[in-house]
Subunit: 269 residues, 2 copies
Amino acid sequence: MDPSSIACAPRLELSAVPGIPIVQPGDDVAALVCDALAQNAIELRGDREQRDVLVVTSKIISRAEDRFVDLTTVDASDDALQLARQARKDPRVCELILRESSEVSRVAPNVLIVRHRLGFVSANAGVDESNGRSTSDGRGPWVLLLPRDPDASARAIRAAVHARFGVDVGVVITDSHGRPFRLGSVGVAIGVAGVPALWDHRGRTDLQGRALEITITALADQIAAAADLVAGQADEGRPLVLVRGLRFTSDEQASTSELLRPVAQDLYR
Amino acid sequence: MDPSSIACAPRLELSAVPGIPIVQPGDDVAALVCDALAQNAIELRGDREQRDVLVVTSKIISRAEDRFVDLTTVDASDDALQLARQARKDPRVCELILRESSEVSRVAPNVLIVRHRLGFVSANAGVDESNGRSTSDGRGPWVLLLPRDPDASARAIRAAVHARFGVDVGVVITDSHGRPFRLGSVGVAIGVAGVPALWDHRGRTDLQGRALEITITALADQIAAAADLVAGQADEGRPLVLVRGLRFTSDEQASTSELLRPVAQDLYR
């Protein structure tokens, strides 16, 4: 891919697209996204000069996929019980975290950092105890797990948008992660379609003609962080953000697996 | 601070402000920023509804502060020589990295991760071998160190903008960092003024009235990541980005030290 044809825009606009209802299990998020774009009469752009990116919070994908779990239905294994003692957490939540993860990275009181089955490292495998479902029907408490396959969800939204509007956009599915070393959460990409997860500058040079030191930018993560400034917390009603002004060639092979540092290269494992 | 008065904007615009020349040692970056804003007839906003943030890449601050070092003038200590063998790097560069840092975090071939004297953890203490100065005058090779006190630089720019235009803006000084676990660099804040580095949502609730799980957002880092999509690599000529649409109360005590995870809490140290 011609590196000069990608990413850096002199002007970028991010806008919340209103009109996504509170998503319920079984809803078709791709259709809801298309409806919201149509309701707002948004003319999507998707050419060599400028290609829109739609940023969707993972929470609405999870809700649509009915990734709710009623904690009263969860039996904690011995491993989960032991982890719960170390992390001072609900053993049933620890059981779900273990089921959602491939490796426990660090445990301390109130801290449980794992490698999610999707490959990224984060706290609590994204098991969300706060933004779940009401217990008003006498069941629960409920927690919400991350989407089954966010890259596939992103591809489905991209395909639906193309089918309805005839435009090739990029799609990023986001979550918020804490980080080692730095406080505060940031938006990160856990699903992509059409837009490259990494932007490889290798071969570009600085003004003196020397190779640039920082050669690979986490494009999709930066888009996610930018959109998080607009989306805030998903349940407050801005689960869809339109990012306009980026220039990139559609990448049919885009995947968030590009963003995962190979375990063997990760000195902090 | 009233949490509802901060940060989430339904619409955000980022634009590169042209007109910053290639910064030379001794230049006054705050004056250059003001000149560029005036040249472009930008009417800054700074009230309760909307407050502009100016994002400045650390590279131009470093150049103005003449943080260039001619490697031929650097004597490597025994510690630097040993580190250079482990990291397979130039011993003189390792010497500068040691001088710029308070602790070596991880060493492996081609990897040297340290705690910078400013408190953050990053590769090579930000010692920049690629975007430095030309060797055409027969000296060098040169490297470029990070600014001496980026929070102070941010405050100086904020004060100059207020003095010239009478508007209280936020200022963020950025660098690009790699990260554990995830590939690709992202823009991060290494200096702030006026704009809170962290946005504390504690006390806010979700639609069901429960406390939000993700309670503290790295506001300044997300602004830096967003601006990096526009700025790209600093020497390519977009060192100043205007971020418009955020809503926050000016924070006179803002400091990037807020973003540093206390060492005792950092499980990856």
